[in-house]
Every structure is written in C-alpha cells, then in structure tokens.
C-alpha cells in the first residue's frame, strides 16, 4: 500500500501552488512536511487526497489514482485530519466518529461501536466527550475527534494538517505515539504538515516547501 505521487501540480485560477512533486511513502512511514503560514501545506494534503480541482499528475494508492474519481470504497478510507472544524455539526462526537463506517461499511452497530471506543481510547476520548456536539469542543478536542474519525476506518492513507496547535509538547508526543502504534497495527502511509519539532523528531523523513516543490530536510 505504498503511496506513490508523481508530477503532482496544484494550481488555483490565479496561482500556481505546487509544480511536479514526486514522493513515495511506504505504509509504515511517517513523512512530515514543514509548513509555514500560507505556503500551501493544506493545499498539498487536499491535493493528494483528491479534494481539489485543478490538480494534475498521479497519486497512486493500491494502483488507483486518487485524482481520477476513485471508488467510494477508497475515498472513505483516506483519513483526513483537518486543522480546524472538519466535523459534521448534525451529529455528536460518537456519531461523527462512526459516520463513515455507518455509511459505507457492512459492520453491525456493535462492531462499529467497539471500533469507535477502541480508537477513542487511544486519544483519551471518553463518554462525556462522545455525547458533545462539535460546537462544544475546543480546538484540540476537535482535532482529536477528526483523528479518531480518520483512524476508525483503518485508513489506506492518513493525511494530517497541523495537528499540534494548542497541544503541549508532552501531549503532542503522546498523540504521535498513538498514531504510530495504530500504524504498526494497521500499516498506512502518513503525511503530516507541521511546524513542530516534536513531529520532525518522530517522523521518518522531513520535507520543507520551497520553490513550489518539496525539498528534503526541515531547515
């Protein structure tokens, strides 16, 4: 399940953000991308996930190009963790985490619930948080719920957009450790945009954004 990105080019109507990115990420790898303010980090992740128009190139996962209207079985197993918001306000936290499985899988209600609880425990989510609506969560809780929802589907690929905001170094370390534990259990390539040294230290490879491309090294 190696992720293979070739010649990825992301353009908006009045701006060219990335040109010709080539990158391979193995299922047990965590790649960190150093992202400054407004340098296109979010666009990179959304472009890889196939969420954007105006993206050229190839993003191959399990032999399927994510830029080419992949089937729903693949779409719902691309875990995306939004930097802000990202939850569905119609539902409470438990329902938000369960939503992709409930919508797309054939698992029973009990099996879905067991998965929600298992992944929630990894990130310290408990019954009182499960009952909350998205507007009742703080920024860190919102991102953790996003993370739990992304991991509950046992994703083929995990994309995380600036996880660290508002987290202490220790808390961030624990969260990254939990992601890596999950990755060992259910192998998946992970790409994170970040400005945190804690994440750079725990990543297998680090890139920075330079001249509309990725260059290896954080400095």
């Amino acid at each position: 399940m190696t992720l293979s990105i070739s010649n990825l080019t992301i353009e908006y109507p009045n701006a060219s953000v990335f040109v010709g990115i080539d990158l391979e990420v193995a299922p047990n790898e965590l790649v960190a991308v150093r992202s400054e303010v407004l340098d296109g980090g979010t666009s990179l992740l959304k472009g890889i996930a196939g969420f954007l128009n105006g993206v050229q190139g190839r993003v191959l996962l399990q032999g399927i190009n994510l830029l080419d209207n992949p089937p729903t079985e693949v779409i719902y197993r691309i875990g995306y963790v939004y930097e802000a918001l990202g939850l569905v306000s119609l539902f409470n936290v438990r329902e938000n985490i369960a939503l992709p499985l409930q919508f797309h899988s054939k698992l029973t209600h009990e099996e879905i619930d067991a998965r929600v609880v298992a992944v929630g425990e990894r990130f310290g989510l408990n019954e009182s948080i499960y009952r909350m609506k998205p507007h009742e969560l703080n920024d860190v809780q919102t991102r953790l719920v996003n993370l739990a929802r992304a991991l509950v589907v046992r994703p083929l690929l995990l994309l995380v957009d600036e996880l660290e905001g508002g987290m202490s170094d220790a808390y961030l370390r624990d969260t990254i450790d939990a992601i890596r534990e999950h990755q060992q259990q259910y192998p998946m390539p992970v790409i994170m945009t970040t400005m945190s040294d804690e994440i750079f230290n725990r990543a297998d490879r680090v890139y920075r954004i330079e001249d509309r491309n990725l260059v290896q090294g954080a400095a």
Binding site: L85, V88, S89, P100, Q102, S105
Partner: protein, 275 residues
Amino acid sequence: MSSVQEEKQGLLGIVDAIGRFPREAFSTWWDIIGMISIALTASKDIFKPSQRPIFWELFKDQLYETGVRAVYINGMIAMFIGALMMARLFAYFPKQVLSTQYAYLFVVVVVRELGPLISGIILIARSATAVTSKIGNLRVRREFQVLHGMGINPVFLYLVPVFFAFPISLCLMLIYFDFICILSAFAVIWYSDPDVSFLPFLSSILEQISLNEIGINAVKAILGGMLIGVISIHFGAKATDSFEDISEAISNSTTTQLMAFFLLNVVLSLLAYTQ
C-alpha cells in the same frame, strides 16, 4: 468617451437591467427543478440497509421540529381565525341563515383556502428559514466538503430528510389548523347559544368536505411542502464565504417561497374549484 458612445452604453445598461430579472428568475427555477431531480435520485439510497437508519433518524428529527412542534403556533392562529370568523358571521348574518350556511362558508374559506395558505406561511416562517440558515452555516463552515471527503453525498443528509418531512409536516399542520378552527368557532357559537351541541355542528361541516377538497389539499401540502423545502436548501447552499451570504439567502429564499406557494395555491384552487 463621446456622447453617442455614452448614450449607447446607457441603453445597453437599461436593456441588461431589464433582461437580468427574467434571466435570474429562469436560472433559479431551473436550479430548483434540478434539485428536485437530485433529491429524487438520492432518495434511492434510503433503501440501502447501512444508510436507512441514518436517514430515519434525521427524518424523525426534522418531522418533529417542523410538523409536531408547529402545533402550538398553528393552533393559536387557527383559534384566533376560527373565533374571528364566527364572530364576524354572527355580526352580519341572521342566526337562522348562519346555522345552515356556516358549514358551507367554513369549508370554502377555511378548509379550501385559509388552512393551506396560513399553514404554508407558518412552515416558511418557522422551519424553512431555519433550514436555509442551517445549510448556509454548513456551507460557510465547509461541512459539505468534509462529507464529500468521506464519500458521503450531502444531498442525502440534508436535502432528502427535508424533502420528505416538509410535505408530511404541511399535511399535519393543515389537519391541526382545520380542527382547531372548528373548535374555536364552536366555542364562539356555544357562547352565544349554549343549546348548540358539538357533534351535529361537526357533522354539518364534515358533510360539506368532499373527496375533491381532501385531494386538492393533499396536493397543495405535498407539492407546497416539497417546493418550500427545496427552495430553502437551494438558497442556503448558495452561501459561500461569509455570514452575510446567509442573511441574503434567508431573505431571497423567503421571498421565493412565498411567491411560489401563493401561486401554487391560487392555480390549484382555480383549477379545482372553478365551475
């Protein structure tokens, strides 16, 4: 720029302004027809076992908010209208004529026209504006994009429950309205003439209600409810970046809903009741 060119520009501006309204109106109605078709297409997912429980929960919530919780406001307005109508009839007609003609007048005025119109206005004011605002907020918060990212069609979560709950709610609201109107009218009659009993009064009204009236009211409720629901979502979904878009969406949505609903009622009444 020469004065001739300026004059030409001015004329073009006027022609453009005149043409803009029908063009925008046509485009809006074309979009609304498209949304009805999208809602019908997405409705087939209700039969998928994994998606049915999600739809059912959302549908029940919407029906409760729109159809059940409207009892209070619908009942209050119906009570005032029933009592007012009876009090006015008492003032204008001799009592003997009134007792024979009241049932007919009630059906012609309340069951055929006022009931559907006022219930529709309450639906627009109470629930449709709320739906437009909710959809607008979801758009501004990029929640549709989040759903697309999970391979979930937002139409299924937001449009389909409204598409089915609004017509059923409007049917329920019509029933409350007529029933409470009858009760309040009877209260006024009973106050003036305590010998009148309720069951003969009720049966004289029910005798006047034909299958035609029931059918036309059902069509008004079903078509009107669907139309109001789809227009709410259409304008809510037009909001993009700012919260100002939401207030504009509510204003445009309410105007369009009122025009469409009144037009639908007038056309159906003319078709059904013109001899």
